[in-house]
Symmetry: D2
Subunit: 434 residues, 4 copies
Amino acid sequence: MAEFPTIQLRVAEAAASCDAAKKILLSDLREREATANGGQAITVQDRITSRRGQAFAVSLAIRATEALNASTGGQGLDVSHPVQRAWRDANAVGRHISMNWDTVGTIFKADKKIALEEHFAIEQTVQDSAGVVPHLYWEELKYRLLDLHERRIREMDENGVELMILSLNAPTVQAIPDEKAAYELSRRANDYLADQIAKRPDRFKGFAALPMQSPELATRELERCVTELGFVGALVNGFSQSQRDGILYYDLPQFRPFWAAVQTLDVPFYLHPRNPLPAHAPIYDGHPWLLGPTWAFGQETAVHALRLMGSGLFDDYPDLKIILGHLGEGLPYSMWRVDNRNAWVETAPNYPAKKRIADYFHANFWLTTSGNFRTQTLVDAILEIGSDRILFSADWPFENVDHAARWFDSASISDNDRIKIGRTNAARLFKFEV
Amino acid sequence: MAEFPTIQLRVAEAAASCDAAKKILLSDLREREATANGGQAITVQDRITSRRGQAFAVSLAIRATEALNASTGGQGLDVSHPVQRAWRDANAVGRHISMNWDTVGTIFKADKKIALEEHFAIEQTVQDSAGVVPHLYWEELKYRLLDLHERRIREMDENGVELMILSLNAPTVQAIPDEKAAYELSRRANDYLADQIAKRPDRFKGFAALPMQSPELATRELERCVTELGFVGALVNGFSQSQRDGILYYDLPQFRPFWAAVQTLDVPFYLHPRNPLPAHAPIYDGHPWLLGPTWAFGQETAVHALRLMGSGLFDDYPDLKIILGHLGEGLPYSMWRVDNRNAWVETAPNYPAKKRIADYFHANFWLTTSGNFRTQTLVDAILEIGSDRILFSADWPFENVDHAARWFDSASISDNDRIKIGRTNAARLFKFEV
Amino acid sequence: MAEFPTIQLRVAEAAASCDAAKKILLSDLREREATANGGQAITVQDRITSRRGQAFAVSLAIRATEALNASTGGQGLDVSHPVQRAWRDANAVGRHISMNWDTVGTIFKADKKIALEEHFAIEQTVQDSAGVVPHLYWEELKYRLLDLHERRIREMDENGVELMILSLNAPTVQAIPDEKAAYELSRRANDYLADQIAKRPDRFKGFAALPMQSPELATRELERCVTELGFVGALVNGFSQSQRDGILYYDLPQFRPFWAAVQTLDVPFYLHPRNPLPAHAPIYDGHPWLLGPTWAFGQETAVHALRLMGSGLFDDYPDLKIILGHLGEGLPYSMWRVDNRNAWVETAPNYPAKKRIADYFHANFWLTTSGNFRTQTLVDAILEIGSDRILFSADWPFENVDHAARWFDSASISDNDRIKIGRTNAARLFKFEV
Amino acid sequence: MAEFPTIQLRVAEAAASCDAAKKILLSDLREREATANGGQAITVQDRITSRRGQAFAVSLAIRATEALNASTGGQGLDVSHPVQRAWRDANAVGRHISMNWDTVGTIFKADKKIALEEHFAIEQTVQDSAGVVPHLYWEELKYRLLDLHERRIREMDENGVELMILSLNAPTVQAIPDEKAAYELSRRANDYLADQIAKRPDRFKGFAALPMQSPELATRELERCVTELGFVGALVNGFSQSQRDGILYYDLPQFRPFWAAVQTLDVPFYLHPRNPLPAHAPIYDGHPWLLGPTWAFGQETAVHALRLMGSGLFDDYPDLKIILGHLGEGLPYSMWRVDNRNAWVETAPNYPAKKRIADYFHANFWLTTSGNFRTQTLVDAILEIGSDRILFSADWPFENVDHAARWFDSASISDNDRIKIGRTNAARLFKFEV
């Protein structure tokens, strides 16, 4: 068999590959040795170069075993065959030390991101997320929601997330019609979160859950969270259901004192999605797949945000900072049309606010990438609101941190914007020291 | 006064400008004369060059009068002052013969567009559009809707629109609960449209209005319109209200025979927006400004389109061609998320269709630019669905043709795509001879 | 003639237009009056609304006269015909008070731009620019170059340019082989510029011209310009021709002390284009049209910038700030390829610098829009280097300020980025108070 | 040790992961079994779903072993430890059957691309490429250039490339001053290529090498290659060096008959880069790293293309089809400036051609992605020339096919455009049956 020309070719290729791999590794080692001997520091650039060299050597080794593998015929399929074993080892090494070409190309970009639509649950709230995934995945999701210090930290480490700002799962507090009960749950969740953050203040910050059913209690709890617990803002899951008042959107007049407090505390308010009540959106009847993140979340949250903008809220409190997830819940794509439909009609728009809707969107809103890992959409958002107002987020545990990070770390935007969106925009918005 | 240095400078500048203008015009005339004397044809390029030269000359003349104007002091404000007069004349000429720099730069691009979300009304339907604009503008809108051969043709001529595919205003037929009445109105409107097209077959084509309250009657009317009246497709204003069946979206099973007929006739179906019934979308309560083109149209139509995609309709009738206006009613921005929310969950989606939603969107849908004259949005649409599936439209008379055309003719896309989106995509979709 | 139905229709339309125009203006006046009577301030938004209403009224008036004009037949061509006169007046008004729809839509965006590749000449240098334009245009260009306080200020006012940073025309100082003569000319030009700035410190700042033939003299003159004359940086026209040393690019070792001084002074250095010497670029032989801004400028300046980056200059002086015009002289489009050609070859690049070329480009370079008023190109630049490092400029008088401003004010980028690129990036880079 | 809570947690997680993996695989198998038992075909969609399920199961298995691995302490580092072994196996499987999440997401996109800047060498020409890579890599590159049926086909198979259009390496024929020798070498290379294509007509097509030193011989050889050898066009490596005539660019008058033949044969002409002669581009002196693909290739080829456009060639032969590699050698980014520098100067450009340069670029040019795997650049190219005129290519063996394919298959453009750029544009341009 060794006499077939094809086999000879493959063996030759394998040998050549091994040889080259050896040379590259040795040459690199020699260079590093010289640097070290010369008393010079090994720079970041040296490290990248070494890793790239190693990655290429590994890829040559893989190619060598593949070449041989292909030439072993049926025997090669036996997992105990030495060629198989060599191939498995080479692959494993390639994977283990993150040596593959793609990954190494981006290793230093991935560092030190801040993520801010990242959720947890407590025992009392975890069931609220049960319907989000098929039964088969519920155990996994539940584990992810309740976990804070094991898997979550590992995901962060593996994907270059330095800091997560944590928030309670949805809809939880917002779906409790009794305002006292909502208040109690908020306090319990916020206290729990504060305790957990205290264990890892280097990796976690907190958003307050708020009983918006009562603007007064919401205000009181926000003040407590910010001034006593050290939270950096609030995250609220869309409209609140109130026993007394029905469905509450936060453009309603009774919320103005709450917003006054938010402005005074000078912390961002994250408007997070929830589903509409079934009776309020019959358009989804017969199509439950359209609920949740697929579509209904976006519509619900976009309209809530538009209501805030049209209501004049930002004329009264021009320093409010509202965060929307999912690259803006569809708003950037259609924002021009909001202000410019029937543009030949020159009368003032029929809402109480004083400016164009886009003016508030550009001045009072920030968008995160949570759950919308689409470069085209990110670029459109950049061209509508500017890269200063976009913030990396994953939406863990409903979305994977690695999906978010791998996409973001190589998305086709400028590296300067990647640093801003990945980290420094958030640091500035939340006044973190970088 | 003539002795002030500033005045002297201005007079000098004016004189220089006049002189240069004269030279340019003369030099251009001599060139053209030489061409003509030499028996050569005057090319399109010659014409552009001449016009650009003239434009520059005019701009110099304007500058000359402005320089003088500024130096006349208070007297210059008198409209009978000779400098004022000269300035007015220069400006008027500049405007009249479309000589200004911007316009001339694009004159040949603007030619020969096809527009396909362009509406008309008949006396029985015109009131349906009364609420769209403030009272002050209703007379204008009404005139625009009823007019076909005067203002409309002029708008087309002035803005390089060779052909309009006309459709009845909204919601009209779709809002008539009695199916017979809806059928009768459809027939009347379609007959009227056919008559009008017959007067200008070079400038107009027609979309059928259809009584979707009855799939059978809708099918019958569509067949009549296509085979007898020569219409090129249908435009339907969202869901239909049926006395018998309530709200009808067209993913419902009873519509499959209708879609079979659409596929057999091989004509596109334009899914046009309408507002939700107030009881069905309380999210807009207190915010009527969000209805219509501002926001509710998009949500209503996007969800209708998603229902069609998720229902498996395009598995059964894979050759259906659906057109959406307004650059896709928000779908392109969020399409990735529709298919990829919770991407770590590897189960099949919970809808009847066999493929990803995006697969149908890419294969069965076309988008028009109607009412969404935003380059960022257009670019995002191109990067989601490709320039082969985007078609110019204005949404006359609700939007201005000149707003649409001026934007489109200079939007920052490639000129090759401009030709496709402006004209040849539509020609191919509707099988027009170009 | 008044009995023709077409004429009647047109007269009716004209009457309707006039009527609507009147109503809009009156209704607007009433609103403003109410505001004023109520003691409230008239807001910017009020002003926009009023202007838009007026613009629409004017457009109706124009339409009215056009309708009539078209109905006057041959008589209407007579310039003294009253309809002609009315049409001319309506057009003139439309133009005069900048009432047209497009302009008004952007009036407030245009304000307060800073432009920084804006040139002037003195008598000794003006001839250097003589070959740039055809003979016919030389008088105009010469006037523009020598003028500082008349036409230039008017262009700035009309186009929302608050501040110009002025620089001497090209190649001038760089093309003088004798270093003393180059030094003398630099001093003269810089002194003249300082005098002119002193007359309008609110509108002008200065870049130093530098005799780079001698690094020592260049350093000395830069220090004088910054510390004594208050200049904000330097603008140098590409390589210098030295009697003694031949062609000098600034990556050469003898320039390191100069760069040390630039870093110490902490002012930006604008690397402006010039043409290669004919003997050095025979590729353009027979194609003189490719010289200058058409192509050769870009190649010359891009390579000069690459030489700086590859030489390790920015390892030694990491705080240097280099500005390139024309959206980066082509670099952003090809920057990835510079670092990634033959990417399977894992050896270090064969230049002295320690990092990827892109790392320096992202950290040490800023780009201006001078002479490259192309949105596609601007967007690509944003996606390569980020909007923080792009700065508005026109390249007056070689390019028109109005061409630059009209393009930039409506380019399809976010308004937040427009403010940064238009003004605040420059303010931060040059440490102006905003 | 089993009693540490952390270890317990990890074991629990591992167990849960294994369990979930098992369930997913079994559930999937049952579904497929049911499909098969029911006599239905297994669809592409079924296959994707299965693979995604498998991929997730594998990822769970990997996670399980990682969890255990982390808990084994120092012992786990021993390669013979069972946990290590399990981890290596899980990883190897994940890699082997392409099961990882990212890859599976795109497997069907990657199919059936056509690549057209793909080079080979013969013994006489292979040394021309020796300087392209460092010594260490030369053996690898040489092997890649000479190989046609082994590694090359494997690269194509692994990366979804159905067809390569092959061309001789550079500069080879163009660098042979003697026209007879150049002719002989062309014939030999073309004959060899024809023989190789005959062995795999399903995977290879050919571009002719041409002795452009003699327009007559080049014409004769092109005719032979197209009509006798079945080649689909020509690829020429930039200017030719002629003993008699010096440096020859193909806008020179003596090439018009050659171009007439190209138009008559109706085949594309690929203008491939080469380096300038050192004496002709002293700007690179001291910076050899700027030669070749890093920068000089682009400048050389862009100017050659501009010369063709400005010379009027395409006025005479309007059906010529020119292909440029590397996403257009920088031209799209700067094309607007080529036509619009000094736009206030309204005279005709000073070149012989009749139209704007961009008009020829849009009508006569196609661009490939060879060696420029940058999404930002691709998007800019799409927005300048349109997606109909962009073609996938790798530039093998100088660039890796997997680098090209992995980038292209997931670049953020529309899937519809991906199909066109990947395959159907080329099929239409070369009149292949698809």
